[in-house]
């Protein structure tokens, strides 16, 4: 089984590395967010935020690594959707391996590609914010890996459920914006909770922001590197639940839906 999964990983990584200049472009865009947008926001963000997180730059750097991970782990969905439209999936289904090996291989490769893409962003974050201890580093990498598998699974589930590129892109946009903006990636969770208490933000979106795995991962890195917010084991559970649901869900969706005409 492992050998077949490794073949799928190799296939997907070759595809990934074919677009290396595209990846360099994407990383530079992410870095522009950090070194331009976050630097300018530093000047105008209120002291309530900077007191807890030193500066907006420091606050945003972990969030940026998580958004980079999300965007790159999601790329596998686009490829699978394209394979389906161009009927390359018939070739994939004809390979001498079980459907489960194929599905697991796709989910794992999407997640691992996300980790590879995210690593320069995480390293940049460590360089500017300071390095975590070895156990903290392993915990960060472990949680991000789980998150990457979950995101990869989510994108595959969307890819096999949508018949056209337009539908996939629309669904992706909805998921992107909801998960990005209803999280603590760009702003502290306390701000969203405060808006909810004031009745200016729907309670369901506040809850979504609280259980959002992007919030959990960003805040966990912040708690290790900036000392705030306090580390909570709930964040690990959030990511674990998200990963388990979407990794398994995507594997079964891939097996069931890919054979549909």
């Amino acid at each position: 089984m492992i050998k077949n999964v490794v073949h799928i990983l190799e296939h997907d990584f070759r595809n990934f590395l074919r677009y290396k200049w595209w990846l360099v472009g994407l990383i530079s865009m992410n870095l522009a967010d950090l070194f331009i947008m976050a630097v300018v926001y530093n000047v105008m963000v209120s002291s309530a935020v900077t007191q807890s997180y030193r500066s907006y730059f420091d606050f945003f750097a972990p969030g940026l690594a998580v958004t980079g991970l999300f965007a790159s782990a999601f790329m596998i969905g686009r490829e699978i959707n394209m394979e389906r439209r161009r009927e390359v999936h018939h070739y994939m289904l004809s390979l001498p391996m079980t459907r489960m090996e194929l599905a697991i291989g796709r989910v794992l490769s999407g997640g691992l590609r996300g980790m590879v893409y995210m690593s320069p962003l995480l390293l940049t974050c460590f360089i500017f914010l300071g390095f975590p201890t070895i156990p903290q580093l392993f915990l960060i990498l472990g949680v991000l890996l789980l998150l990457a598998f979950g995101i990869s699974g989510l994108s595959i589930a969307i890819a096999v459920s949508t018949s056209s590129l337009e539908k996939f892109i629309t669904a992706r946009g909805l998921v992107y914006y909801t998960l990005f903006f209803c999280s603590s990636v760009f702003y502290p969770l306390s701000l969203i909770q405060q808006l909810g208490q004031d009745g200016k933000f729907p309670a369901v979106l506040v809850t979504l922001a609280e259980i959002n795995p992007l919030s959990s991962a960003s805040d966990m890195i912040r708690s290790f590197l900036l000392g705030y917010p306090a580390f909570s084991y709930t964040s690990i559970l959030n990511v674990l639940a998200f990963s388990a649901v979407f990794t398994l869900g995507a594997a079964f969706a891939y097996i069931k839906l890919i054979e549909r005409k």
């Binding site: 522009a32 630097v39 209803c182 760009f186 702003y187 200016k200």
Partner: protein, 226 residues
């Protein structure tokens, strides 16, 4: 829309009111210009699709001059981006809730020229590069730099305070001109001299439309599309 409802609303809570008194209105106005820019860029991707499907040769065989062709493409690209962004501009106007009629008409005219100019820029770069992958990368990087180094998301004084280099670039950025004029038209922020950004947008439009014609004319034939 979700950027207005989610990012705009929440981010406005973390901005110091002494820096930007009402960041929500400021951001909503800037978002319309950012989206217009991104929509107008899309014409370049269409050119690659036409080259890939052989539509390019058909267009070249039409009884129109190259100049008319590129001018038509620029204006078409600008107009359709306007149609695309129209609902967002409508929502922005509703959310902002104020309007200076004459200033708004001038700013709308400036936004039209801005959209034509961005389409012209996209076409010019697409026919110069002739590689969809490189174009995709370059447009992504340009988008990140042009939008972030402008006043679309933050006032010029703040950009200058963060870095004089960023401030210098933002001062001459067409996105800055368009965003400042739109905010002036919607009464979000005053503008001491609206003529300067208007002239900046006219210069941007003229450069990419007329230089675009020359480059298009030289590069359009001979294949080499990747």
């Amino acid at each position: 829309m979700s950027q207005i409802a989610l990012f705009g609303l929440i981010a406005s809570r973390m901005i110091n009111v002494n820096s930007v008194p009402n960041y929500f209105r400021y951001y909503v106005a800037g978002l319309s210009v950012m989206t217009l820019y991104s929509a107008a860029i899309f014409i370049g991707f269409d050119i690659y699709e036409e080259a890939e499907h052989g539509v390019f040769e058909y267009l070249l065989s039409l009884p129109v001059s190259r100049r008319q062709l590129v001018l038509g493409r620029s204006i078409g690209g600008g107009l359709r981006s306007f149609i695309y962004v129209g609902p967002l501009i409508g929502v922005s106007l509703y959310v902002i809730g104020s309007l200076n009629p004459i200033a708004f008409l001038i700013s709308l005219f400036a936004l039209f020229l801005f959209a034509f100019g961005v389409s012209g820029m996209s076409i010019t770069i697409a026919v110069m590069i002739k590689s969809s992958d490189r174009f995709d990368i370059l447009m992504g990087v340009l988008d990140a730099l042009i939008v972030r180094l402008s006043t679309a998301m933050y006032p010029l004084a703040i950009v200058q305070a963060s870095s004089p280099i960023y401030g210098g670039i933002a001062s001459f950025n067409p996105v800055t001109f368009a965003a400042d004029l739109f905010r002036w038209g919607t009464d979000v922020t005053p503008l001491q001299n609206p003529l300067l950004p208007l002239l900046g947008i006219i210069a941007f439009f003229a450069f990419f439309t007329f230089v675009g014609v020359v480059i298009y004319d030289r590069r359009i034939e001979g294949g080499g599309w990747q």
